[in-house]
Symmetry: C2
């Protein structure tokens, strides 16, 4: 089943202890779409400027991502640049130029309006809601990401949008900030009252925790020997997660658990190379092999 | 099989957002021994002062912990006091009075000298080694804990003691500091060259990662709704881990994986109440029930 994602498409400048790139395809929707494309057809809603070249587009098209919803505006594409510390535990933002993204008003092409699986990447909650309003049928699964900026500045709008989301994917700090509750299990109960039935807490190298109103599931971070660039790990996780669910076509405990695993698989691959590079070369065989490594990493027989 | 532990026995003053105790039984060896006693007979080597009362001793004796190696010296028992922050993420040490512990020179009673399982809790590596030297037969499993203090101040002594340890149990930062390597997988290879074949990285609320030279195993932190007092969680983990191994009497991949789970079970119980309280009331049934909860928390079917 088709999976629609709305979010940023950007150029990124990235500096890590392993190297430097001045301008490479980035943005939450790019990472998400490339990761999800390994499991399900993906429809992208975003905006780029007139500097978005055919070879940038080709990276997405080669993974058969539907770009009917990728708007082209006069001006420059969203640009972000950041530098990671020696240990890659900290990231300093060097440049944020919103450019055409500042005027982004998502508009769904007719062909997207039957999307049953939707992911609202981290953008203004009002824009997230406007996408839901353009979808014809009630979607089966709506996933949502957000950040401290929206939790602080547009809390009422975010609350309104959350009413329509099934799965909230945020990190520990965002969970605590959104709910005003330090303990994550109690925080999850606050989230359930806001709308979602599932909270996925992304914890970077420590993996992810799913709190569903009926069960709990935890998946560790994959112990990698080389992390070249952490950019986009969370969006790749979300892409693997939602892509798996859309591909499975069923939302139950088993598919939710597996979605956590495949999300972690895609997140772990994403950081092995710079930018979206690893997501574009990944094979089905590699994905399944790593999923089985996750199984070995976590299984025990009492 | 019997499990010998050497380490601190102390009185703790603890303040958390959930309450305050002025003086309660503490110390690494106390937590370790009480946790391990649920799986195996335990022999304790430590030192206390003349203020160590019959009811303190009774807490350990009731769990059938062998105290033939608990030396009594003139003076006061080691006293530590600390305060946890509102979120319990940070701990401030308020008082450290080594007292009789400053002159601790471990001396094994004759009846301990055949111990096949040994845990060297976090003390001076020279004292850790003196315990190994007093054991008659070559022990089957030697576990070792240490901290930044010894890594910085007695690196040569620590290296010498590590040659005789099979399992090193430390946290992320200690692993990085000991090996000079940020990446934990590469750090583990350094550790293997120092002696141990297994590195257990304790990560608090994020669980624990085992890097064995033949396999990897990760266990999450147990998502608790109430943490009353984090003191002793790592020592209780070590006690559950080593106790399980001693009780199983076999050291193989299956028992090592299960040891990680039972270590996590004991660590998760320890923090539910103040001091060692929860470890003394715990039942076999509760322990196995939580081990099965860990299984539900982590299992998936691809």
């Amino acid at each position: 089943m088709s999976l629609l994602v709305v979010g940023s498409v950007a150029f990124d400048g990235i500096e890590t202890p392993h190297g430097k790139v001045d301008r490479t395809l980035g943005g939450a929707a790019s990472y998400f779409a490339l990761a999800a494309s390994h499991f399900s057809p993906v429809r992208l809603v975003g905006i780029v400027g007139d500097d978005f070249a055919p070879h940038d587009e080709a990276l997405l098209r080669r993974r058969r991502i539907d770009l009917a919803g990728l708007e082209r505006a006069a001006g420059k594409t969203f640009f972000w640049a950041g530098r990671y510390s020696q240990n890659m535990n900290e990231r300093t933002t060097l440049v944020t130029e919103l450019n055409v993204f500042a005027e982004f008003r998502p508009s769904l092409p007719q062909s997207y309006c039957d999307s049953a699986h939707i992911f609202l990447a981290n953008i203004d909650p009002t824009l997230q809601r406007s996408v839901l309003n353009q979808v014809r049928c009630k979607p089966k699964v709506v996933g949502l990401d957000t950040m401290n900026y929206w939790i602080e500045r547009t809390p009422a709008e975010l609350r309104e949008t959350l009413k329509h989301a099934h799965i909230l994917m945020i990190n520990d700090d965002e969970t605590r900030q959104l709910t005003g509750e330090h303990n994550l299990m109690r925080a999850a109960r606050h989230v359930f009252k806001m709308g979602p039935h599932t909270l996925v807490i992304k914890r970077g190298e420590h993996g992810a925790l799913m709190v569903h109103n009926k069960f709990l599931f935890s998946v560790p971070g994959f112990p990698l020997e080389e992390v070249h660039d952490p950019t986009g790990a969370g969006d790749s996780f979300a892409g693997g997660f939602m892509g798996y669910l859309a591909g499975a076509g069923k939302l139950n405990e088993r598919t939710l658990r597996n979605a956590m695993v495949y999300g972690s698989v895609l997140g772990s691959f994403a950081v092995e190379k710079f930018g979206v590079d690893r997501l574009t070369t990944l094979t089905r065989r590699e994905i399944h092999a790593r999923a089985h490594q996750f199984s070995k990493l976590t299984s025990f027989t009492l």
